[in-house]
C-alpha cells in the first residue's frame, strides 16, 4: 500500500492503472475510520482490481461554528487499518492543495441540499458535492462507495452524478451499527459515558417507527409525533428534525408508502447525530 499526497501523482497512478485496463474502486472518507468504513472498503476490494481510499477532512463542508478543527484525526491508525484491508492507495491531500488561495468553484444540487440537514447546516452539502466531484475528477473511479448513515448525502451525490453525466457508479451500503444499535460515526467519540447511553435513543426511535408501520400506522404525523415524544423524554437531547421523506425527492410525505425513509437528527450533549431507516418497501407492500 502506498500513501499519495500529491494530486498530480494520484492522477498519474489512476490513469496508469486505467490505461492497463484495471478497474478502480474508491472510498472517500474524512478518516478516523470505523467499521462502517471497513464495510465500504471490503466491498470496494471485492469488486475492483485497485482500491483507493481518500482521507481528507474537507473544510468546505463545515460551517464556521462547526467542528472542523476538533474533528478527530488519527492517520497512523487509519493507515494500519487500510493496509490490513488490502487497500492499494491512500490519497491524503493537503487542504492547501485541494483549496488553494483564490479557490472559487462550487457544485450545488438545488432543492435536495436545502432540506433536512441542509436547513441547519447551510452550505454543508455544497461542500460535500464539491469535494466529491474534485476527488472523482482526480481519480476517475469506476465505482465509489458511500454509507447509508448519511442518507441525504447519498441521495444528493447520486443526483449530482446523474445530472452532470459523470461516468462513475455510486454504491450505497447499509449502515453499520454498534451492538446496541447506535450507527457508527467518527463523531461518536465526542460522547461522554452518559451521552453515549442517551444516544441509543436514535436507534430506538427508528425501531419504534418501524414497529408502528408494521402495526399498520401509515400517518407520518402520528409516527413523527410519537418519536418526538420518546426522544423528548431522553436527557441531553435536542431534536433537530424527525422527518418521513421520499427517498428520491427528500420531500415530506404524509402517508408512509413504498419510497418512505424516516430520517432524524438529534443533538446529544453537544454532538449532532443522524440516523435513518427505510420505512416503505419492506413493510408497506406486505
Amino acid at each position: 500500500m502506498k500513501t499519495i499526497r500529491d494530486i498530480g501523482a494520484m492522477r498519474r497512478y489512476a490513469r496508469r492503472e486505467q490505461a492497463s485496463g484495471k478497474t478502480l474502486g474508491f472510498v472517500p472518507t474524512m478518516g478516523y475510520l470505523h467499521a462502517g468504513h471497513d464495510s465500504l472498503v471490503k466491498a470496494a476490494r471485492r469488486d475492483n482490481d485497485r482500491v483507493v481510499v481518500s482521507i481528507f477532512v474537507n473544510p468546505a463542508q463545515f460551517g464556521p461554528r462547526e467542528d472542523f478543527n476538533r474533528y478527530p484525526r488519527d492517520f497512523k491508525r487509519d493507515e494500519t487499518t487500510l493496509e490490513a484491508a488490502g487497500v492499494d492507495v491512500i490519497f491524503y491531500p493537503s487542504k492547501a492543495a485541494m483549496y488553494p488561495e483564490g479557490y472559487a468553484t462550487y457544485v450545488t444540487v438545488d432543492r435536495l441540499s436545502d432540506v433536512m440537514c441542509g436547513e441547519s447546516r447551510h452550505g454543508h452539502f455544497r461542500g460535500v458535492t464539491t469535494v466529491v466531484l474534485k476527488l472523482f475528477e482526480i481519480i476517475r473511479p469506476d465505482t465509489a462507495y458511500f454509507g447509508c448513515k448519511d442518507f441525504q448525502q447519498t441521495v444528493i451525490i447520486k443526483k449530482m452524478v446523474k445530472d452532470l453525466n459523470m461516468d462513475v457508479a455510486v454504491r450505497v451500503l447499509p449502515t453499520v451499527r454498534e451492538p446496541d444499535g447506535l450507527a457508527m460515526s467518527s463523531r461518536n467519540m465526542y460522547l461522554n459515558g452518559h451521552e453515549r447511553a442517551d444516544a441509543r435513543i436514535l436507534f430506538k426511535a427508528l425501531k419504534k417507527a418501524e414497529d408502528m408501520v408494521k402495526h399498520n400506522e401509515r400517518r407520518s404525523r402520528s409516527i413523527i409525533g410519537q418519536l418526538k415524544q420518546v426522544i423528548g423524554r431522553t436527557p441531553n437531547t435536542v431534536i433537530d428534525y424527525v422527518k418521513i421523506v421520499d427517498r428520491d425527492t427528500l420531500q415530506d410525505i404524509a402517508i408512509v408508502k413504498d419510497t418512505a425513509v424516516l430520517a432524524l437528527a438529534v443533538t446529544v450533549g453537544k454532538t449532532r447525530l443522524i440516523d435513518n431507516i427505510v420505512l416503505g418497501r419492506k413493510y408497506v407492500r406486505s
Copy 2:
C-alpha cells in the same frame, strides 16, 4: 463522420477510442458555425487522433429575455462544414437529454462570473460552466478548444478546470475577424445592413485603445473615456461596458500593465456584441 445524439452512445464512443490509446480533441459549440469555429476545429484536427464537435444551443446560459429561441440554427450546413474539416463525430444531444425534468445541479465560479458580462447576464456563466462540465464528463477529452472572442468565458472555464482538478487541457485560440475587423460571431447574422456597418466601431475602438497604449497612455480611465466617446458617437449603439481588467482576476486595473485586457460589450441595434484585445504584454514591456 458520424452524428451521435444519445449521451450513452457518445460516452461509449469516447471510452472505446480512449481505451485504444487515441487522443481526443473536443470543440464545444452552439452551432451555426463560422470561421472562428473552423480555426478551433483545425487545431483540434492537427493535435488529436479523434475530433468531436458538439452542437448544442444551451438553454441554461440564456436569460429569460434573451435570444434562446431565435438563436440561429442550421444543422445541415454545420454538418457539411464539419465533414469537410475532417471531424470524426458531431455530438448533437437534445435539450431533454441534457436537462431532463427535475434537473438540479449547477457549477458556479464565484467572483469571475459576476463581473463584466455577468453583471448584465445573470446566471449566464453558471449555464456555461455547467454545460461545459457536463460535456467534459461525457466525452473526457484530452484537449478542449475555445475562441478568445469570449474572453471572460475562457478565463472562467480555465478557472473551473483548475479548481475542480479536471483532467483536460484548455486551449484558447485567437479571435477570427471579418476583413473589416468585426469579430466572427453567430449573432452577427442578426445585424441589418446599417447595423453591420455601425458594428465596425467595436474593432475600431480596440485599435484606438491599442494605439493609445503604443503612444504611452497607461491610464485606464483616460483610454476608457476616449473609447466611450468614440462609440457614443456611433449610431445605433448602446454601451454595456468598456473595461480594462486583469486577464486572470477580471478585476479593473487603473494603470495598463503586462496582464491588461481591454474588453467591451456594445449593443448594436438589438444585438449585443462583445470583443476584446490584450493591451499589456505586447506593448507595455517595450
